[in-house]
């Protein structure tokens, strides 16, 4: 059965793969949107943060001997920064925070020192490493530029990207790596990816759903729901929204703007690492990772620079456009032309993106 001249099952395959791939795009877009919401900066370093985050994940996941010790020290550093520097939980006393650090450090250290559950260790280790990455970027590169022209900060994100690339090159080199996160172990002790779901005899053929992409999509959706709830119902989330809306006003009502910005970068770091690890589990961990973020820029613009829901919709639309474009027009047009044509059309109709806020400035 054909749909507009193409086999129906191939079109359905393209649609499903587009949706699932779009989930990863949406997660990448979310990281960019959060920084933009918190600081108004378009973060060109996001792709490089993804690369570093994925390499941190790989390091913990591949049973590297040194990693737990390093991670143990890093976890202490992170907790200290959060508790003393950022002062969250804000309402706690100094004694309470010290006790919290000690207990949390112990728990995290225990997780990182075990080698039986590499996935859990990698998740915890990466969350810490990626959050630290975001905090360090914010403290060393972004905070000094507060009150400088926005363009300077945007340029700084480009510089940060190059620095991160250099760090990854010096530390890990450039070898492509496999990251079989969603896999069991076969008789030889090799990772065996979960088999794909096959739906036979549908629209004249077999449609295949990649399990790792399906899991990645589920995680991406869960992350979205989590962040929507976070921004709507938590004090920190509300503080971030207020800061993004008007920094001066937020500061005037007692919000600690710098701390909010730091937390936003930490969250963006975690999101970058999560998206990168999910992408790498579907393909491989390659030095080309930063270019993936460039492909997601249309999704960010399409959804609206400040909209979390827009990031999700934008990611899905671009994913679907790519894959259906490939089915109908070949991959050169599908992957490199169609997403931008879709973006162009939507921006002409809605210049602020599908869900972007239309700002009216009095002159």
């Amino acid at each position: 059965m054909d749909i507009l001249g193409q086999p129906g099952f191939a079109v359905l395959q393209g649609l499903i793969t587009g949706i699932l791939t779009g989930g990863i795009y949406a997660l990448i877009a979310l990281g960019i949107v959060i920084i933009n919401k918190a600081s108004g900066v378009f973060n060109f370093a996001h792709g490089y943060m993804m690369l570093l985050g994925a390499l941190i994940f790989w390091t913990f996941f591949q049973n590297q001997q040194l990693a737990p010790i390093v991670a143990f020290a890093l976890s202490g550093g992170l907790l200290t920064i959060l508790s003393v520097g950022v002062r969250y939980p804000a309402t706690w006393t100094r004694g309470g925070r010290v006790a919290f650090i000690a207990v949390a450090w112990g728990v995290i250290g225990f997780i990182l020192l075990q080698t039986d559950n590499l996935f859990l260790r990698a998740v915890v280790g990466t969350a810490i490493g990626a959050a630290l990455m975001g905090l360090v970027i914010e403290r060393l590169a972004i905070r000094p530029l507060i009150s400088q022209p926005l363009f300077t900060t945007v340029m700084m994100t480009l510089v940060v990207g190059e620095v991160l690339l250099g760090v990854t090159q010096l530390t890990w080199g450039s070898v492509d790596r496999s990251l079989p996160i969603f896999a069991t172990t076969n008789a030889l002790g090799l990772p065996q990816a979960y088999p794909p779901i096959r739906i036979r005899n549908v629209l004249g053929g077999t449609v295949v759903i990649k399990t790792e992409l399906l899991i990645a999509f589920g995680i991406a959706l869960a992350a979205f729901v989590g962040f929507v709830l976070f921004f709507r119902y938590t004090r920190l989330g509300l503080a971030m929204r207020a800061t993004a809306e008007n920094t001066d006003l937020a500061q005037a009502v007692g919000l600690r703007v710098r701390a909010v910005l730091a937390v936003a970068w930490a969250i963006a770091g975690i999101l970058a690492a999560l998206a990168a690890a999910l992408h790498a589990s579907s393909t491989s961990l390659s030095i080309t990772m930063p270019a993936l973020a460039l492909r997601v820029f249309p999704a960010v613009l399409l959804g609206g620079l400040e909209s979390i829901g827009g990031a999700l919709v934008g990611g899905l639309v671009i994913g679907i456009a790519e894959k259906l474009g490939t089915v109908y027009f070949g991959s050169s047009a599908g992957e490199q032309l169609i997403p931008f044509v879709v973006l162009m059309i939507i921006l002409v109709v809605r210049p602020s993106g599908l869900f972007g806020e239309e700002r009216i400035e009095r002159v």
């Binding site: 492509d176 790596r177 896999a183 090799l190 990772p191």
Partner: protein, 460 residues
């Protein structure tokens, strides 16, 4: 009487010959196989090998082992006496895969005084960008990439200043079709006729094999080319591209992409359940160790990695073939504690490139003298360069009209097996791995067809 004198004469000559060969020659080059002896002692001098390319961009997975091969070879050959006694140093820079950076670096290199005697470049795109400029500046280039435009120009009628250590990608594909047409029903035991779809990275490198000349040549060999699909190195999935080609009838996919690209295709073939139906093949890079390692993330129902049994082009000897040259490379690889991930084409090519450089410069010095060394003279040497680098690991046969190596075998990527027939599992960094190996399918080297536009084997 005459016969006695003749016998004494022969004896004296034989003793002289033995004495000559046994005496240590001040100009002999140590540790080097089949190397030309130096006529000039360059002790105390320094010769710089200039190279730049993508060390941190999309090509980094193959160029970093290449750079490691350069470094280890330079160390080894300098320890063995260098280039006729001269110390060889390395000037190396990174373009990060950006054409503007390639151009910028070239501007810097061309301004060196004296100009580089030769450049080692890495990619087809760089070759195409710099082709006219290196000709203008009279700087010959050696690289391991087979772009027709880079080597012969837009109309393929002007052999330039760039020489390739591997065959043109068009010619590699032609050689593959020639073998495929014969082997399809016999060796491969398949039915019907072979129909090839190109599935490669977007760009000059990836698109190099799909040309009217290769399509016509393959048709003449009984192989139909059904079309091409091209994907970005960042692609998450190529199932749509595979479906497109299979729907056009493809039962063979031919790829011109590097490690992650080839591994992604292999993975998605298994995902679609097409691993037995569709044969995966590619240019020489498809058989690299990097592909064999990445492919282990997805196993076929047989339990072997998705990248098992990829067919491709092998224009050199492989690591495990027992020769003096491969033994030397293996020894140096181990001595420098290089990781398994570097045990691929690039390291071998890097080592061979330094060996080739030494031979080229030695021959040029012998011909014109050290004081008269120049890029133009090195190019003249290149144009009559018949040489077996590393004792035959790489074989070069350049001439005033030939700019690329032209001898290949067909080979397949598979995994090492023990005496019991089971795959050998090794543990690297706490992770279990199978060991990728490349096995020649055709035992003898054959000359590739000449399929550049206007080439000798182009079907009229």
């Amino acid at each position: 009487m005459v016969s006695k004198r003749f016998f004494v004469f022969l004896l004296v000559m034989a003793l002289a010959l033995v004495a000559f060969n046994a005496a240590p020659s001040a100009l002999a080059q140590g540790g080097m196989m089949g190397r030309t002896e130096c006529k000039e002692d360059l002790t105390g001098k320094t010769i710089t090998l200039h190279t730049f390319g993508d060390l941190s961009g999309p090509f980094a997975p193959i160029t970093q082992p290449l750079a490691a091969g350069f470094a280890d070879a330079l160390k080894y050959y300098n320890e063995q006496g260098g280039l006729c006694g001269a110390t060889i140093t390395l000037q190396q820079d990174d373009t990060a895969g950006r054409q503007e950076q390639t151009q910028s670096l070239y501007q810097r290199y061309r301004a060196f005084d004296p100009k580089p005697l030769m450049l080692l470049l890495y990619s087809s795109a760089d070759a195409e960008l710099l082709r006219e400029q290196v000709a203008e500046d009279q700087i010959p280039v050696f690289l391991f990439a087979g772009s027709t435009i880079g080597l012969y120009g837009e109309n393929a009628d002007k052999p330039g200043w760039i020489f390739a250590g591997i065959p043109l990608y068009t010619d590699q594909f032609g050689a593959f079709c020639r073998w495929l047409g014969k082997a399809w029903t016999t060796e491969l035991g398949r039915e019907g006729t072979p129909k090839v779809g190109h599935l490669s990275w977007e760009g000059a490198f990836g698109r190099s094999t799909e040309t009217p000349e290769t399509t016509a040549y393959c048709a003449a060999q009984g192989v139909e080319v059904v079309g091409g699909e091209y994907f970005l190195p960042t692609a998450t999935d190529v199932t749509a591209q595979i479906n497109n080609l299979v729907n056009k009838g493809a039962n063979v996919l031919f790829t011109t992409s590097l490690a992650s690209g080839t591994a992604l295709i292999a993975r998605d073939l298994v995902t679609l359940g097409l691993e037995d139906e569709v044969l995966l093949s590619g240019v020489n890079w498809a058989l690299d160790t990097s592909v064999g390692l990445l492919g282990q993330a997805t196993l076929k129902p047989s339990g072997l990695p998705s990248t098992d049994n990829i067919y491709g082009i092998l224009p050199y000897l492989w690591w495990d073939e027992p020769t003096e040259g491969t033994k030397l490379v293996q020894e140096q690889f181990a001595a420098n504690q290089r990781p398994l991930t570097a045990r691929g084409i690039s390291y071998l090519a890097g080592f061979g490139a330094v060996d080739t450089y030494i031979e080229l410069i030695t021959r040029t010095v012998n011909r014109v003298g050290f004081e008269n060394l120049s890029g133009a003279e090195v190019k003249k040497t290149f144009e009559e360069f018949q040489y077996e680098s590393l004792g035959g690991v790489f074989k070069y046969n350049f001439s005033p009209t030939v700019r690329a190596q032209d001898q290949v075998r067909i080979a397949r990527l598979t995994y090492a097996r023990g005496a019991d027939g089971n795959p050998i599992v090794v543990e690297v960094g706490g992770r279990k791995l199978l060991v990728p190996v490349v096995l020649p399918v055709t035992p003898e080297f054959e000359t590739v067809p000449d399929l550049k536009p206007g080439g000798a084997d182009v079907v009229k």
